[in-house]
């Protein structure tokens, strides 16, 4: 199996309104793809449906992760199989130190895979090296996860989790939103460091800016609930220049 992700003719409704109208997307192993589209085009819905959030009615289609249909799996089961979603708005978990959360997540995944729990010294070593790459200091690791974090801190904490959980399919939902240019560079470096032949990535964004730092292999244009055009990275620049209007369906 050389494809990491295959989405086939995916139709999704929310409260009787069709949001996704036949999405087809294939991401081979080791490739990084970008989906670009204007706000409200259904991009975030796609990421939530992939991760298994409740409240979406899948009327047709399937999502294969490494050849296996994941639509019937719980969100945590999908995570254990290597799907990771970096949230546009990471959720606050009051009272739970970032460090505690990281350890709980890593051990939950290990337990689900039938592996031994991590020993604390090994865990600390892994966290320290990943945190260093993302310029996260130890004080931040002691604070409750995402509580009072700046936009940049939140996004870096997401990438830190990704680095530690070592997923094979990473989805970034508007990761560049709320980031200044310095934070954007740090986050991009962190993501680029994780690119390898066995890991695929899907970057969802409506600005081309992020793609200057994380250069995709393929760019897809998303409009009105489906992918309407695919091309190489130059498509992103072309979109930036001419906007999305040309892809809007005439009604």
């Amino acid at each position: 199996m050389s494809n990491m992700l295959e989405i086939k003719d995916l139709h999704v409704k929310v409260e009787d309104k069709e949001i996704l109208k036949g999405v087809n997307l294939t991401i081979p192993k080791g490739e990084t793809h970008a989906i670009m589209g204007r706000n409200g085009s259904g991009k975030s819905t796609l990421s939530y449906v992939m991760a298994g959030k409740e409240g979406y009615e899948i009327t047709k289609g399937e999502i294969l992760l490494d050849g296996e249909n994941i639509l019937e799996l719980e969100p945590n089961e999908r995570a254990v199989k290597g799907l990771f979603l970096a949230f546009q708005y990471p959720i606050e978990i009051p009272g739970v130190a970032t460090m505690t959360f990281l350890k709980a997540a890593m051990n939950a995944q290990r337990k689900a895979r039938g592996e031994e729990e991590l020993l604390t010294p090994d865990f600390m070593r892994e966290v320290k090296s990943a945190a260093k790459m993302l310029e996260i200091d130890s004080a931040m690791l002691k604070r409750a996860l995402n509580v009072g974090f700046s936009g940049g801190e939140k996004k870096r904490a997401e990438i830190l989790q990704m680095a530690l959980l070592k997923p094979k399919m990473c989805v970034f939902d508007e990761t560049d939103s709320g980031l200044d240019i310095d934070a954007l560079k740090i986050v991009s470096q962190g993501v680029n460091a994780l690119r390898d032949a066995n890991r695929s990535m899907l970057i969802i964004t409506h600005y081309q800016r992020l793609l200057n730092y994380i250069v995709p292999d393929v760019v897809h244009v998303f409009s009105n609930g489906k992918i309407v055009k695919s091309g190489d990275k130059s498509l992103a620049l072309e979109l930036e220049k001419h906007g999305y209007a040309q892809y809007d369906e005439s009604t």
Binding site: K53, E54, Y56, F87, I91, P94, V96, A108
Partner: protein, 494 residues
């Protein structure tokens, strides 16, 4: 999206309903021949109990007086609790395990009793305790039903002049201390249940810390209600002389029973000048099954008296059990500069009802108090925080900070906050903060996306919610409490 939310709420509720209380870890009964008083309550029963304990005449008289007063009192009904009237004539007021009289060592203790404690994980055997974490030696005054069975470490404690024994023994051995302190914090006629306790209390613990002594270990009592239909009326008295310190742990478990069992304890603490008493409780008595049948009725009066200047009393409680809980560990801040603290975690699930909180009575100057209460309600339960903060007119510069947070899981449960504040002195500053929140679907989804299953996610979020309080627990209770929270909310989602 509203549709999505409803879906999740419905799932959560279904999942909460699935909680398997039959799994109650401590639901086993020990078959030991019981030495019981006849069923019901009368003057004869009071005499029977006193005689069983070979009490001196003054003690019997004290009990009978209390009984007379109690006959004129009425059960309080102001709490937000709903339960059928308790028929005291259906309760055994005294049950002692039949053992050789006054065991002198562990060898003399009924092996089945020791087995029961083993299941509860109590480090009754001294060597087990000694093998534990360094510096975590716990002296155990184990109370089985109503009689104090064995007390460990007494010799070591005696070296520093500390007295740690059963209250029955203290009545015989240290009558002067008992006469001087008993019912001086909770008066005999304080309330219906405490007065009843005065008449029929069967055992409990007594602690005396002499002047200038810092108790070298955490003192611990494990209460356990074993006999069917036995009301357990514990009586505990702790006295800390000037400049002394003691930390006391009370852990409670009870085996599963179908009938409701009544428990009405009285705990009194006295802290003299510069003394500090830290009292921690973990209560996980049988909460009843998921239809709300059975379970313990827990009507407790706990009060501490900061009698001397700059004394300090701190209550920490973790309440996860009992069908009904009525409990307000309080501090009378009499000494100038004295300080009272109350940290509470109260978890209710299924049909449990909790009405709990504290009273901080500021009488002295520059007294301060702090209240942190965390209530977690799931299933069909009701969880009420009821707290009184009051300042006497002489309580210049009294300070209180109260933080009262409630967390709801599902939409069939209730959380209520009932604060009473009275300030008769213009210089006092009382602060009150209260929040009510729900575990959001977004939080659950986020945790699940990282690989935690729904149950692990709830446990993690709840542990975060109660962190301020857990940090105040003695080391011995911290890990136990985290596990207990997980057990109590087991199956509440996922």
């Amino acid at each position: 999206m509203a549709g999505a939310k409803e879906n999740i709420d419905r799932d959560t509720i279904e999942q909460v309903e699935q909680i398997d209380v039959e799994k109650y870890k401590y639901g086993f009964a020990t078959d030991i021949k019981s030495d019981k008083a006849p069923i019901g309550l009368s003057e004869d029963i009071v005499r029977f109990i006193s005689a069983k304990k070979n009490e001196p005449e003054w003690m019997l008289k004290w009990r009978l007086d209390a009984y007379e007063r109690w006959l004129t009192m009425e059960e309080p009904n102001w709490a937000k609790l709903d339960y059928p009237k308790i028929d005291l004539n259906e309760i055994y007021f005294y049950a002692a395990p039949k053992s050789t009289p006054g065991p002198k060592s562990l060898d003399e203790v009924d092996p089945e009793l020791l087995e029961t404690y083993k299941k509860l994980g109590i480090p009754l055997l001294e060597q087990a305790v000694l093998a534990g974490v360094e510096g975590a030696k716990i002296a155990v005054d184990a109370v089985f039903d109503s009689v104090s069975v064995v007390t460990t470490f007494r010799e070591e404690l005696a070296k520093s002049g500390i007295i740690f024994c059963s209250i029955s023994e203290a009545i015989t051995e240290y009558p002067d201390l008992i006469k001087k302190y008993l019912a001086t914090v909770v008066p005999v006629t304080d309330n219906y249940y405490s007065t009843l306790n005065c008449a029929v209390f069967t055992d409990g613990s007594f602690v005396y810390i002499p002047k200038g002594v810092r108790c070298p270990m955490e003192l611990s009592t494990y209460f356990r209600i074993n006999e069917i239909n036995t009301g357990q009326f514990e009586r505990t008295l702790i006295i800390a002389e000037e400049d002394s310190y003691v930390s006391y742990l009370e852990g409670c478990t009870a085996p599963m029973r179908d009938e409701n069992q009544l428990h009405a304890a009285v705990v009194e603490l006295v802290a003299h000048k510069n003394a500090e008493i830290k009292y921690s409780t973990v209560q996980n008595w049988y909460p009843g099954n998921k239809e709300g049948k059975g379970g313990i009725y827990n009507f407790v009066t706990k009060r501490g008296d900061c009698r001397g200047d700059n004394s300090k009393i701190s209550w920490t409680q973790v309440e996860t059990g009992s069908a009904i809980t009525w409990k307000y560990p309080s501090c009378i801040l009499r000494g100038d500069g004295s300080r009272g603290e109350f940290y509470s975690i109260a978890i209710s699930n299924n049909y449990q009802q909790i009405d709990s909180g504290t009273k901080m009575i500021h009488l002295g100057k520059n007294t301060s108090s702090k209240v942190i209460s965390k209530g977690i309600a799931a299933g069909f339960s009701d969880n009420t925080y009821r707290g009184l903060i009051s300042a006497h007119k002489k309580a210049t510069n009294a300070r209180n900070f109260t933080q009262c947070d409630s967390l709801l899981i599902g939409d069939k449960c209730g959380a209520h906050t009932v604060p009473y504040i009275e300030a008769k002195n213009a210089s006092v500053v009382f602060e009150h903060e209260a929040t009510t929140s729900k575990i959001s679907d977004e939080q659950l989804f986020y945790c699940q996306q990282r690989g935690l299953n729904a149950e692990e996610a709830v446990a993690l979020i709840v542990n975060g919610f109660v962190r301020d309080v857990i940090q105040n627990l003695p080391m011995e209770f911290m890990v136990e409490t985290q596990k207990l929270i997980n057990i109590s909310l087991e199956g509440s989602v996922g």
